[in-house]
Each structure stands twice: as structure tokens, then as C-alpha cells.
């Protein structure tokens, strides 16, 4: 399984992903710049990403908690998500996301 991550410079990287890992953890594990200050507890909004529009509907919808936490992120768009709230599963193989400005 892989995810595709576009970094702040606009360069796309394909990252090997493990089932059950959070997208945030995959990005962090590969050393790309994501602060993820609260370690995935939906408590900091520093793991903000934009999901490729083709993929938005294939994700589980946002919880109220995630929606509320996005209030602390910047340049929030319709396809904004907190990457610690997306768990990798086989259907998400190929998921494309872009790191939000930090």
C-alpha cells in the first residue's frame, strides 16, 4: 500500500503505508514536515492536510471533534482533514494528500 504526499514545495512523494497506521504517522515516519504536536489525539490541528478531491468521498466523514479542531488550522478548505484522523486501510491504497501550510 502506498499514499502519495505533495509537500510544501509541490513535489509528490509515494510513501509505503501500513494498514492501521494513521496517515499522519506515515508522513512523520518518512520524515516529511508535519508537526503533529499532539501525537494524533485530535488536539492540535498541526497535522492538517488537503485530500485530493477524487479521494474525499472515499474517506470516513469528519467527526465533530475533528471539525472543531480544524478551527485552529489555517486556510481550511472543503477538502481539509486532520491526517491523524485517517486510518490506513486497503481501500485507501493510492490516497493522495497535500500538506497544508504551517
Amino acid at each position: 500500500m502506498r499514499i502519495r504526499v505533495t509537500d510544501h514545495e509541490g513535489i509528490e512523494h509515494a510513501l509505503e503505508a501500513l494498514e492501521g497506521w494513521r496517515v499522519m504517522e506515515i508522513i512523520r515516519d518518512w520524515g516529511y514536515p508535519i508537526r503533529a504536536e499532539c501525537g494524533g489525539a485530535c488536539a492540535c490541528a498541526t497535522c492538517h492536510i488537503y485530500v485530493d478531491p477524487d479521494w474525499v468521498d472515499r474517506l470516513l466523514p469528519l467527526s465533530d471533534e475533528e471539525e472543531a479542531m480544524l478551527d485552529q488550522a489555517f486556510d481550511v478548505r472543503e477538502n481539509s482533514r486532520l491526517s491523524c484522523q485517517i486510518l490506513m486501510r486497503p481501500e485507501l491504497d493510492g490516497l493522495h494528500v497535500t500538506l497544508a501550510p504551517a
Binding site: E37, A41, A43, E67, Q72, A73, F74, V76, E78
Partner: protein, 343 residues
């Protein structure tokens, strides 16, 4: 403002779980502590980031929330009567001529001690700054992330950004003083005390406050003085809003901050320590909890507790080199039990 220095045994920078437990371990060895924290309450990350979330790996406590752990630690250290200096940033450190560490905070509190313990965790909690181009040029003059003196905003045309308690509270508190207040938030829902939300909505309905459901796209102005902000939203595109002051409340983030200037060796923004005393590169300055680094370090609360115990043994030898230290259990030592107020 500068006050009379306070002399004490140990100054602790950071009142997170590790700073708090250090008070206990130091207290058993008769060392008195003063703690400094930029937050308005003790508990560090546990109180600020996850007060309501469960922790499962504190030895012998199957589960407790971040706030419960903080409350329990506060109860446990009560007998040692620590002094808290909250809402203050530990800003600078120097050594006095007679060999004490002198720590000065941003509001002028001066603490002098033989031992300094840095328990600064992931760094000091500071407001998040919006990544808007050129915002630094306006900071401190017309863009603010906190309110220190309300009067500063009298007669101003304020834009207040954010949807939490800070944004709502300041919008309500400053509305009577300001020339105008516009609250800007990305959605028409607020994560704030319902009472504040109702008050805000009432003022908006009466035309005494404006509410814009939008985000800030850019800033306008020159020489540090804002003349307006540009708002954006998907349907309406971008439009300008005149104002002379922006207050942005997007929550807090952790930054190492002034500790970086304390003259200690750093390793990727962490303080390397030995694993016998948890002392930094400088004698008399210890580092425990998330802020320190050594091979095998795990950023866990229980690691910080262990570090606090060993640090205390070394700290007492720095503060009172002449004192004889014996190893005792709280279970069987009446001496320790007296200190804890139970014997």
C-alpha cells in the same frame, strides 16, 4: 518592572507533570521549589492538550484523564508548599557573583536558586501565528495574539479571528471599549461556552458586533499599521474589510522559546543529559521530562517521574554539599512521613 529577587532552593521551569513530580522528590529531600509556567494553570500538556482524554500507562493507575493526573499530582505535592509563578515566561538566566542561578521572567519576577530544573516539556505554550504573508511586520503594533492590557484597544476597529473561548471572550470584553468589533470565523459554529456564544449572537443581532463567516486571506497596511484585512470564502470569493487591529486566536503551539538562550548545549532542540543525575552540560542545571535527551529516551510521563527521583538526589548535593543523605522509604521512615504530614 523588576522585583526583589526571591531566593529558594530550586527553581523549576515548567509545571507539567514532570515539574510537578519533581517538587515531590525534591521535597522529600527538604528542598523548597518555585515553579514558573507560561500557562495559567499547572499540568503542562496534560492540562492544555488533553485534559479530558484518558492515560493508561501511569503505574498502578489503570486509567485517569490528563486533568485527573494533574489534580492528583497537585494533591500529592501539597505538603511541600511549592510556589507557582503562572502566566509568566522564564526568559533569561544568568549566574550571580555568589554562584546562584538568577532566572528572570517576562513580567520581572526574579528567582535565585542553587539548582535550576528545566522541565519545559515540548517547550512553552505560545499562540499559533497564522501563516499569512507579511504578518510579522504588523505583530506587536496592530496584530496581536493575546490581550495584556484591554485599554490598548479602546477606540480601535478590531477584527477578532477564531471560534473558541479566547476569541469569544475577548470579542465580548472588548466590544464596549472598541470603536467596532468584527468576529471572523470559518464556520457558523463555535466551540465556546454556550453563554458567550449567546451573548455574541445577541450583540450581532442588535448590530453592535459584526460576524463574518470567512477566513483571512491577506493583510493590508504599511509600516506595521494595518488598514484592513482581506477575507475569503468559497462562495463569495475575496473582499476587503477595513480595520486597524487584528487579534488572532487559533489556539496554542509549543515552542522551545527562551530556554534555547540559556547557554546550554542542545541536541535538536532538546537538552542532552546524563542518565545518572539528569544534569545538563552545566553543573547545577538539570533537565527532566520531554525536554531532555539521552540514548533510549522515551517521551513518557513515567520516564519523567524516574528522572525526577534521580535528579533530586543529585540536586540536594549541589544545593547542600555538606548534608548527609540517607536512602529511605516513605513506607517506613517517620522522618519522610512527617514531611508528608501523615505521621
Amino acid at each position: 518592572m523588576s522585583t526583589q529577587p526571591i531566593r529558594t532552593d530550586v527553581t523549576i521551569v515548567g509545571a507539567g507533570p514532570c515539574g510537578l513530580f519533581a517538587v515531590f522528590e525534591l521535597g522529600l529531600l527538604d528542598l523548597k521549589c518555585h515553579l514558573v509556567d507560561i500557562l495559567d494553570r499547572p499540568g503542562g500538556q496534560c492540562a492544555e492538550l488533553y485534559p479530558e482524554k484518558p492515560i493508561y500507562d501511569i503505574p498502578a493507575i489503570s486509567v485517569c484523564t490528563g486533568q485527573e493526573l494533574t489534580d492528583k499530582l497537585m494533591a500529592q505535592i501539597t505538603p511541600f508548599e511549592p510556589t507557582f509563578h503562572l502566566n509568566q515566561m522564564a526568559e533569561s538566566l544568568e549566574k550571580t557573583a555568589d554562584g546562584w542561578w538568577r532566572l528572570t521572567t517576562d513580567i520581572g519576577t526574579v528567582l535565585e536558586s542553587k539548582v535550576l530544573v528545566i522541565a519545559a516539556g515540548g517547550g512553552s505554550f505560545v499562540p499559533k501565528k497564522p501563516p499569512i504573508k507579511g504578518i510579522e511586520d504588523f505583530e506587536g503594533r496592530s496584530v496581536f495574539y493575546a490581550v495584556r492590557k484591554m485599554d490598548q484597544f479602546r477606540g480601535k476597529h478590531l477584527v477578532i479571528a477564531g471560534g473558541g473561548d479566547s476569541a469569544l471572550d475577548w470579542a465580548l470584553n472588548l466590544q464596549p471599549l472598541a470603536a467596532s468589533v468584527t468576529l471572523v470565523h470559518r464556520r457558523d459554529e463555535f466551540r465556546a461556552a454556550p453563554d458567550s456564544v449567546n451573548k455574541m449572537r445577541a450583540l450581532v443581532a442588535e448590530g453592535q458586533m459584526r460576524l463574518e463567516i470567512a477566513q483571512i486571506a491577506s493583510l493590508e497596511g504599511a509600516d506595521g499599521q494595518l488598514s484592513g484585512v482581506v477575507l475569503k470564502d468559497k462562495e463569495r470569493g475575496e473582499w476587503p474589510l477595513a480595520c486597524d487591529t487584528l487579534l488572532a486566536f487559533y489556539g496554542l503551539t509549543m515552542k522551545l522559546g527562551p530556554v534555547a538562550e540559556f547557554g546550554l548545549n542542545l541536541h535538536e532542540n532538546l537538552i542532552p543529559v546524563d542518565t545518572e543525575k539528569f544534569q545538563s552540560s552545566t553543573e547545577g542545571i538539570f533537565a527532566i521530562g520531554d525536554i531532555n535527551w539521552y540514548p533510549g529516551k522515551l517521551k513518557l510521563i513515567l520516564s519523567g517521574f524516574h528522572e525526577a527521583a534521580l535528579m533530586a538526589q543529585a540536586a540536594v548535593r549541589v544545593a547542600y554539599p555538606e548534608r548527609k543523605i540517607r536512602f529511605q522509604y516513605t513506607t517506613s521512615s517517620t522522618d519522610l512521613q512527617q514531611k508528608l504530614g501523615v505521621a
